[in-house]
Symmetry: C2
Subunit: 440 residues, 2 copies
């Protein structure tokens, strides 16, 4: 069956729903370059205004998954569980979660991404480890997941080519911020991993893509429904990104934080363990994954199991094995920045808020992220957040430490960080918890 | 000043207004192929949803006018008045109006179009006259308007190239039916004629682009405001296209109707002069043009003057001179179709309505219009409408005569025409007048 593209655009423009056949045709024709960019752009804008219903989103997602190659782990006959986050600042839980799940003998086929905008990327973090390879072949990845439980790779060109093409188009046509299109983009890639279950970490707050809890909840519900309609269990953890997660944001500094946590270290200052949020969120997400993998009878039991696997050192052992398998030099020191500087409180009072997106953008200025996709990053660059929202500070106290191999970005990064913090006289009114909501 | 296209699309998508500089940049960049089709398509769809305010539309229209060459009649120091219709079936008034205005010594620089969709085009009608040339050079056209008052040509590639490009894009991205974009497309071309005044004939009804009077009024107001903001007087006549205008629709048959009217002939059947609607609308439109040209003190006086110029034969003389100037053979017989057939009433009763778009589409089946822009047309093909809405008909009465040089389209044309008419037992409830409203 073939369609007249303008008629399909008109249908969506007028607020009607597409049939499964129509959506599959759109994605197939776009992937094959039969539907030109200008018609896809008009359609995407019509979707931005009119949305898609659950059935349309489910089919759209499946059609994007089917636009390329997908993994097949069916011969395992045991659960495959992944965790995926919508992106934030200092969000490093994948590096702790993968080893925990491997220690519990749960398969985790994790296809990860690079930093995007102000948010960091798992691939970039791992590449701060000397020798680490993210570009596994499909065969290496498949074999490693089967034999070693946890493997991680970057997205290849043959996975979801429709999404790759559409994402690039959305970026230049201002159609990124559409819930159905976001949902399809995230879930098509996850569905291509042939999972049985997925834990989504949907971030909300100043450092997240979704600024409000309500928007995060709407996306969460869509992600859950779309995954389930395509045959996988989905748990969504809606977590707080109104502050950077844990102590560090950057690349090698985040890896260091993970190794410290897996080594059961703490970092207590001003009566607060700055490693605690990362550890807690990692353990909670891992708990949900273990529950989906039927390794326990509740997510709470799963979290206890995860915690014990960290405490025993089993997860650290799995992390070392994981690094070795993918070429990483476990013995080598992590690279450290040659320069550092501080951002201090301009006045005394109580820290009201941290605009976490600005912290992410400051990281880019330091070289921890990219302004253009071709840019090279400085793996040592990063930021240490030394105070938490609600803490009392005195004028001159250090709020952030900044690190990099070049001081070129220090001035602009420090300016951004100064403008990111607000200091007032009273306790900030609303402090949402680290995990605001769970959809199971 | 340069802009990031995605930011401009985002602005419109979010319902904000563009600055003059932004709109001029969009049109300039699109004309120069610096703004790709996919971004223009997303912007056009955002405009479809969000609209543009009067200032934006005015600037958008001026920017499209300025994308190419425009005429300059300023050395004339006397009014230049054109008439433009939004398109209908049997709408042939230009061929009567041009000669009337020339007889009144008013300059009419008329750039006309071809048939589009179900509606006919003035160029196609005139080309049914042996030898008639519509492709004047700019210089020939300019000189003829200056010396002979009335000249007519087709749009050239150097007039409003932005509109030409955007119109083709809108056609394939379902963004044709947007009032601001329609207004810009129509008015940019009219503004390029360097007019002092314009009479717009905005059609409403089943054979018009705007089906409802309300939609026609909205477009009318936009056209008037946009023209006036760009320095020309605009009168809008909102006229009824719920029946084909007058006796014939097609090409040579419409020219014949015009010559008959300019020769003061009538065609009375069933107590109705089927030439009367065409004559009346032409005279009324010409009256408004004469008023804008300050040849009289009111449109009604203008209509009287126009009527007298037809009655005296002065307009017919001008029509002959016009044909001769552009190579038309006035002596030759108009081509006549080799075949004809009839569509008869399937039952007795009162003619309730004529779906006039279907009459236009039946004309295309006969060969009077084009399915694809490359198609050649049969200038003899056409339809005679033999009954008017509200007339009593008896089963077997002829409602339409169809003509063409090939009978290939007769079956499908007759089917369309049969389905276009509705016959009932009572008088149709609402019969709007030929001219429903005038905006002055």
């Amino acid at each position: 069956m073939s369609y007249i593209p303008a008629e399909l655009i008109k249908k969506k423009k007028n607020g009607e729903s597409h049939t499964e056949d129509e959506i599959r045709w759109i994605i197939r024709a776009y992937t094959n370059n039969e539907l030109p960019d200008y018609q896809m752009a008009a359609w995407a804008m019509a979707v931005w205004f009119r949305g898609m219903n659950e059935h349309e989103i489910s089919v759209f997602t499946a059609a994007m998954r089917d636009s390329g190659n997908r993994f097949d782990f069916s011969k395992l006959k045991s659960p495959r569980i992944d965790k995926h986050s919508t992106g934030g600042v200092g969000d490093k839980t994948s590096l702790i979660i993968g080893p925990i799940l491997a220690a519990a003998k749960v398969h985790v086929p994790m296809i990860a991404g690079r930093g995007l905008g102000h948010s960091g990327g798992t691939l970039d973090k791992l590449e701060s480890i000397s020798g680490f390879r993210v570009n596994l072949t499909r065969e290496e990845f498949q074999k490693s997941v089967e034999e070693n439980y946890f493997a991680l790779m970057g997205q290849t060109h043959d996975i979801c080519p429709a999404d790759r093409k559409l994402y690039a188009l959305r970026d230049v046509t201002s159609t990124v911020d559409s819930l159905p299109l976001i949902c399809g983009s995230i879930m098509s890639k996850k569905l291509s991993e042939d999972l049985t279950g997925l834990v989504m970490d949907v971030k909300f707050g100043s450092g997240a893509f979704m600024k409000s809890l309500a928007d995060a909840q709407a996306l969460s519900q869509l992600l859950k429904t779309t995954g389930e309609k395509n045959g996988i269990d989905v748990t969504v953890v809606i977590s707080n990104m109104n502050e950077p997660l844990g102590r560090f944001s950057g690349n090698s500094v985040e890896v260091q934080e993970c190794i410290d946590i897996l080594s059961n270290k703490t970092f207590v200052e001003h009566d607060f363990d700055f490693y605690e949020p990362t550890r807690r969120l990692s353990v909670e997400l891992a708990g949900h994954m273990l529950y989906l993998a039927k390794k326990c009878d509740s997510p709470a039991e799963g979290a206890s199991l995860a915690e014990s696997l960290v405490q025993s050192g089993a997860a650290l052992t799995e992390f070392k094995l994981f690094l070795q398998r993918q070429g990483g030099d476990w013995q080598a020191e992590l690279p450290r920045a040659q320069h550092s500087d501080v951002v201090v409180a301009a006045k005394s009072g109580i820290l009201q808020s941290i605009n976490t997106e600005l912290v992410g953008l400051a990281g880019i200025e330091l070289g921890a992220g990219r302004k253009k996709s071709e840019d090279k990053i400085d793996h040592t660059a990063g930021i240490e957040t030394c105070r938490r929202v609600g803490m009392r500070v005195t004028k001159g106290d250090i709020i952030f430490n900044v690190f990099a191999n070049s001081t070129a970005g220090f001035a602009s990064a420090k300016n951004l960080l100064l403008s990111a913090i607000e200091i007032g006289d009273t306790q900030p009114k609303e402090l949402l918890p680290l995990v605001a909501k769970v959809l199971m």
